[in-house]
């Protein structure tokens, strides 16, 4: 793993996500993109609407889980398929961590044929946010499909 990127991982019933980057924010963005890849085929479509999201957590891993679940929930409430993400701020220490993000989405009604799977929730199973040897930040968890 170098630079930044994401992948999905084999899990018999559900799916593992992994995102990596030079900062926790990049690793979070990439993990979110891995989740979006399960939900929508982005080919031929682009974001039409922006949504703001602010969320907190008790540690970096907790923040990741809260962040991914808030994305799922917000997409449902807005009836939108999310395709892009930018974390504007991610900071914290001790038991107080939070982030602000801007998400790009497209109304589900305009991209029905691109919708792939429904992700029910991000779980704590296999959840982690770690800085690896080379300084790369790696985030991931299992999502319930």
């Amino acid at each position: 793993m170098t630079g930044r990127g994401h992948e999905t991982l084999e899990h018999t019933a559900d799916m593992g996500l992994r995102g990596w980057g030079g900062t926790p924010a990049e690793a979070f963005e990439e993990t979110a993109l891995a989740m979006f890849d399960l939900m929508i085929d982005k080919s031929g479509i682009s974001a039409e609407d922006d949504y703001s999201l602010s969320i907190g957590g008790r540690d970096l891993t907790g923040l990741l889980i809260e962040f991914l679940n808030e994305l799922l929930s917000l997409a449902d409430v807005e009836d939108s398929a999310f395709v892009s993400i930018s974390i504007e701020r991610l900071q914290g220490e001790g038991e107080e961590w939070d982030l602000d993000a801007v998400i790009g989405g497209i109304p589900r009604g305009k991209c029905r044929k691109n919708l792939l799977s429904e992700v029910k929730a991000a779980t704590w199973y296999g959840a982690s946010v770690d800085r690896e040897g080379g300084g790369l930040w790696v985030a991931g968890c299992v999502v319930d499909l």
């Binding site: 799916m15 929930s73 449902d76 029905r112 029910k120 779980t123």
Partner: protein, 483 residues
């Protein structure tokens, strides 16, 4: 780390108590299944046997941490997992319920010949596909306000019935008559209710389905007769759950129970096994929220069954009396039940994650019409293979707290299924076998290909061989509607 198992008999294995385990682990499997599970345990990151062992470490667990024969890795609990907890000393765990609270199956017997379905196969498929909203982000015709959602959370299937979905007799054949007591709408977040406003009466996606099936084989004449099953008879089965409301309840309480795990110093062998003491404020509130989610799933299946009923009435001019609910039972559940244990009768909080309640003959919870033979257990197969109707046994009551398998159980990950199968090929192959698939997602068809699952015949044979469940009938799919 590889988990050690000991063979008890041909179909039952034990993980002996060791380390922090409070009870042994028990897995229903044959030699071949156990070889697969052990291989997975030693080579894969996700390990169902380790999950059985981890559940055995949770405070207040009674008897054994169990897994039915459809066991495969979940998150925290294995899929197929059953855990009973003492209501005084025990804990309630999110992982033992999951995010699709009270996901389950309703089966309806339709008084129509197999030939009439065969002759009208395309028309039936189109009518059902157009009548029941399915797929990612699908919306139902059931428009609700938040106060009405609150009524669904306390009234369950009865609310959908009041709105004209289905008939009164349906409730007699739904687990708990379609409403559990103790649901508290105030324990469910506004966001969860908001997400559900347009999702009641929708099937969802993934492994959820609506299937028209015929009775292919009868194994137990008396039970089949009691259930109204005849050779070549038509059954429609609906597999879905509490939709977004259930997902949001799980999400909301994940952080609540995580903090409770720390507050009450509950040892967590694994990060998703977060739990709270049943008697703690957090535990009680979570249980009342889960009960609200259970009622939501009951309402959802009642609404869909009403749509299916109306579709068949339109298609074949059937009367309500010619469409009868056989049974409905959940398989992601949390139930307070009374069981006869070595210490006498005990109330226990039973977690079933991908496992079905399977009560034996004589239990008050079994509808009167079936009480002589036992509770029907509805086991979904795959799009191309058989489903089964089983019945609970006395041995099952004592060995598994009256539990059964819920399906075939996945054996290939979705990624591997996508590598191995193409959606169009899966649909074409099934069409050649006389099974018509209607889906909005070709990718979904590949992920759910029959080859991605264990052989349901073998899984059922293990449970029957173990004496825990008994076969009543086998159903073969004719039409399958997927999300």
């Amino acid at each position: 780390m590889k988990v050690q198992v000991e063979k008890i008999d041909e179909f039952l294995w034990e993980i002996p108590r060791s380390g922090n385990m409070l009870v042994p682990g028990r897995i229903y499997a044959d030699d071949e299944s156990m070889t697969f599970l052990l291989e997975e345990s030693s080579t894969k990151q996700w390990d169902a046997l380790a999950q059985v062992r981890n559940v055995a470490c949770l405070p207040g667990i009674v008897g054994a941490s169990m897994a039915m024969a459809d066991i495969h890795p979940g998150y925290g609990f294995p899929i197929g997992g059953v855990g009973a907890f003492d209501p005084g000393e025990g804990v309630v765990s999110i992982a033992g319920v999951g995010f699709d609270i009270n996901c389950g199956v309703r089966s309806m017997v339709i008084d129509i010949t197999k030939e009439r379905i065969e002759l009208n196969r395309e028309r039936v498929a189109e009518e059902l596909f157009n009548s029941v909203p399915a797929g990612v982000g699908s919306k139902g015709e059931f428009r609700l306000s938040v106060p009405e959602i609150d009524r669904i959370l306390t009234e369950g299937a009865a609310f959908a019935l009041e709105r004209g979905y289905g008939v009164e007799e349906d409730l007699e054949y739904v687990e708990e008559r379609g409403t559990v007591a103790g649901a508290d709408p105030s324990a469910v977040s506004p966001r969860a209710k908001e997400r559900q406003l347009r999702q009641v009466g929708t099937l969802g996606s993934g492994n959820h389905y609506l299937e028209v099936q015929y009775v292919d084989e009868i194994y137990d004449e008396e039970a089949a007769s009691s259930f109204g099953l005849i050779p070549d008879g038509i059954v429609v089965s609906i597999h879905t759950g509490s939709r977004a409301l259930g997902h949001q309840i799980g999400t909301d309480y994940q952080s609540v129970l995580r903090q409770a795990s720390q507050k009450y110093k509950i040892p967590l062998p694994e990060s998703e096994l977060i739990a709270a003491p049943i008697q703690s404020p957090e535990g009680r509130r979570y249980i009342s929220a889960v009960r609200a989610g259970i009622n939501c799933a009951f309402a959802n299946r009642q609404a869909i069954s009403g749509l299916v009923r109306d579709a068949f009435k339109r298609l074949f001019r059937l009367s309500d009396g010619e469409i009868r609910t056989l049974y409905e039972v959940g398989h992601n559940n949390l139930k307070m039940e009374t069981h006869d244990t070595a210490e006498g009768l005990r109330n226990l909080l039973i977690h079933r994650k991908g496992a079905t309640r399977a009560f034996a003959a004589g239990r008050d919870e079994v509808p009167e019409r079936y009480r002589r033979v036992g509770q029907p257990v509805l086991v979904g197969g795959t799009m191309g293979t058989s489903s089964f109707i089983l019945v609970g046994t006395e041995q099952g009551m004592t060995e598994t707290f009256g539990s059964a398998i819920h399906g075939a159980g996945r054996v290939k990950s979705r990624k591997k299924a996508l590598r191995d199968y193409r959606g169009n090929d899966v649909i074409d192959d099934l069409a050649c076998s006389g099974i018509l698939i209607r889906t909005r997602s070709r990718k979904g068809a590949a992920e759910e290909a029959p080859g991605a699952y264990k052989d349901v015949e073998r899984v059922v044979a293990i449970m029957e061989g173990a004496g825990v469940n008994r076969r009543v009938a086998r159903l073969r799919p004719m039409i399958c509607i997927k999300g």
